[in-house]
Amino acid sequence: MDVNRATAAAVIRMENLSKHYPVRQNVRQWLSREHRVVRAVDDLSLTVKRGEILGLAGESGSGKTTTGEMIVRLQEPTSGSISVDGHPLDAASRTDRKRFRREVQMIFQDPYETLNPRFTVYQTVAESLRIHGFRDRGEIARRVLECLEIAELKPATEYLHRFPHELSGGQRQRVAIARAMVLEPKVLIADEPVSMLDVSIRADILNLLKRLRERMGLTMIYISHDLATIKYLCDRIAVMYLGKLVELGPADAVIGQPQHPYTRVLVASVPVADPDYARADIDVDDAPPDQIDLPPGCRFAPRCPYAREACNACDHRLHERRPDQFSACLFTADQWQPR
């Protein structure tokens, strides 16, 4: 079983990536060396191919944002490795790190908090260039204008001297995109970029992201809980649950023929942009999962409608159930039986 088959074209490669957060403990627990952790991301291996848009799906607490933040090095992994374009991120020298910062950029969820309220649009976008040593004011101005136009803020000169509070949510997200694109990155991590925008604006931003891939040759990870936007934008989907990768495959296949019960629940629970889609009516225990006291085997087992004894021995290894579609469930979809 080799999930990371297309190794030659891999731009982002994560191997056994984990992020554990220590939990505040009382003295007795500390003395008994019962060191408890939240396994936000647990032993994740995943590759993203050049020019691909990978959707990272899952509910809050599934570890999708943590994964994204580890790729841009906002957080250091507890263990495991990430490499971008063949360069491992750890053990990078100062100059390597700075070069890396240009290659991997990120856009964030909250358009109202993503821009420094005291910078104008021009200052915001130019700041990225200044950090990377650009000094020629003419050069900076030219690049800023270009990127604002690429982000479809037209005419760019109208926006240059505006402050974030003078812009709409969609315009702010475009400024954030321009700020990321001005460094000409190879990889863009988009963390829920449209979830706080008006529905009418979402499609515009998603289309912009699509065009960016064509135009700039971007490789993208699109992080979202919203399967509808993932399906619209992404080539492949990786579904995470409590820090584990549970399903990975082509977007249409994962949403049309989910091979993991959790994906199925997820598909059933969110609106799908396809009116003909026959929605499965699945009864699932909706108690929020405990992120510290994890079940011994499959993490989804306590909420899974098809859980059985064998699930306690599940090791979350991925099985190829359909072409290029992998699931961590021990059973194939036709073996699922309600408890």
């Binding site: 420094n116 005291r118 104008t120 270009e146 954030a176 000409e184």
Partner: protein, 315 residues
């Protein structure tokens, strides 16, 4: 970084026609000063505060020329007797002391002392407090723990005994009072700034700056400082008040600089002479001056606070 500049190809040919000259610098549309002056038009108290404070500043700056007499100059009547404890008159608007000194001149010269102590101490306090607060709040972890334990330590020290001991060990002078005030009040600013920084440091725009490659120093000076600056200015205004009050208290107790006229010292001499029971003109002017100056700064600070925190604007 020259290399980086050469490597980078143009992102696209979207706007070859785009102007190559840097755009003119924008002025800050939401500047604190603009908001403050707009606020003044509605807030009568703030306006009163600004007028009063301006008056005190003018008096303080031109104290030497405004004071008709020297603070220690003794005044004699035509018969050559000292004008002891004279109530206010045209020649001495605030009357005279028990040794025939002009209280009006003393109060005017005391204004300068109060303002120097107030503003210098506040400047020092906010400078140290803001740096400590920003560093502690931004880095977190052990730098935060160490700095905050030091802050706790300084919270435990009572001000007046500390200032007295400091005056006893060093020379009694306003510089030592400024030092004592600064040593003991930076903690408050540090704590307030830290709590604000803790929340700012988690904002996505800080993350975005890190992703763009900004270093810690750049983030602290270009992102965090401008966003806590309104709060720092506000704290500074409150600290001016605190320092003036502290100087007056120390001087009243008699631990101030004996060579320097200050409002606290006028009250001190009044008190030890024992004439405070009868010479109301000796107590009221310095007392009123302290009250009015503190009030004016408080009103200004309050108006500043309303600008910093929009929720307070309509109170």
């Amino acid at each position: 970084m020259q290399a980086a500049q050469e490597q980078a190809p143009s992102p696209a040919s979207a706007s070859a026609s785009a102007s190559a000259s840097p755009p003119p610098r924008a002025h800050h549309s939401q500047s604190l000063a603009a908001l403050f002056s707009a606020n003044l038009r509605q807030d009568r108290l703030a306006l009163t505060g600004v007028v009063l404070l301006t008056f005190f500043l003018v008096v303080g700056i031109f104290a030497e020329s405004l004071a008709p007499h020297g603070p220690r100059e003794r005044h004699y009547d035509d018969a050559g007797r000292i004008r002891r404890l004279e109530p206010p008159s045209l020649a001495h608007p605030f009357g005279t002391t028990d040794v025939g000194r002009d209280i009006f001149s003393q109060v005017i010269l005391g204004t300068r002392t109060a303002l120097i102590v107030g503003f210098l101490a506040a400047l020092l306090v906010t400078l140290v407090g803001a740096v400590v607060g920003i560093v502690a709040g931004y880095y977190g972890g052990w730098p935060d723990a160490v700095l905050m334990r030091i802050v706790d330590f300084f919270y435990a020290i009572p001000f007046i005994p500390f200032a007295i001991v400091l005056a006893a060990i060093l020379q009694p002078s306003i510089w030592n009072i400024i030092l004592a005030v600064s040593l003991l009040t930076w903690r408050t600013v540090a704590r307030i700034v830290r709590s604000q920084v803790l929340s700012i440091a988690q904002r996505p725009y800080i993350k975005a700056a890190r992703v763009a490659g900004a270093g810690h120093t750049r983030i602290m000076t270009r992102y965090i400082l401008p966003n806590v600056l309104p709060l720092v200015l506000l704290e500074m205004a409150f600290m001016v008040n605190w320092a003036i009050m502290a100087e007056a208290s120390i001087a009243f107790l008699g631990f101030g600089d004996p060579r320097l006229t200050s409002w606290g010292q006028i009250l001190h001499l009044n008190f030890v002479s024992g004439y405070w029971r009868i010479a109301w003109w000796w107590t009221v002017p310095p007392g009123l001056a302290i009250i009015l100056l503190l009030l004016s700064i408080f009103f200004v600070a309050r108006a500043l606070e309303a600008v910093v925190d929009p929720r307070l604007r309509n109170r």
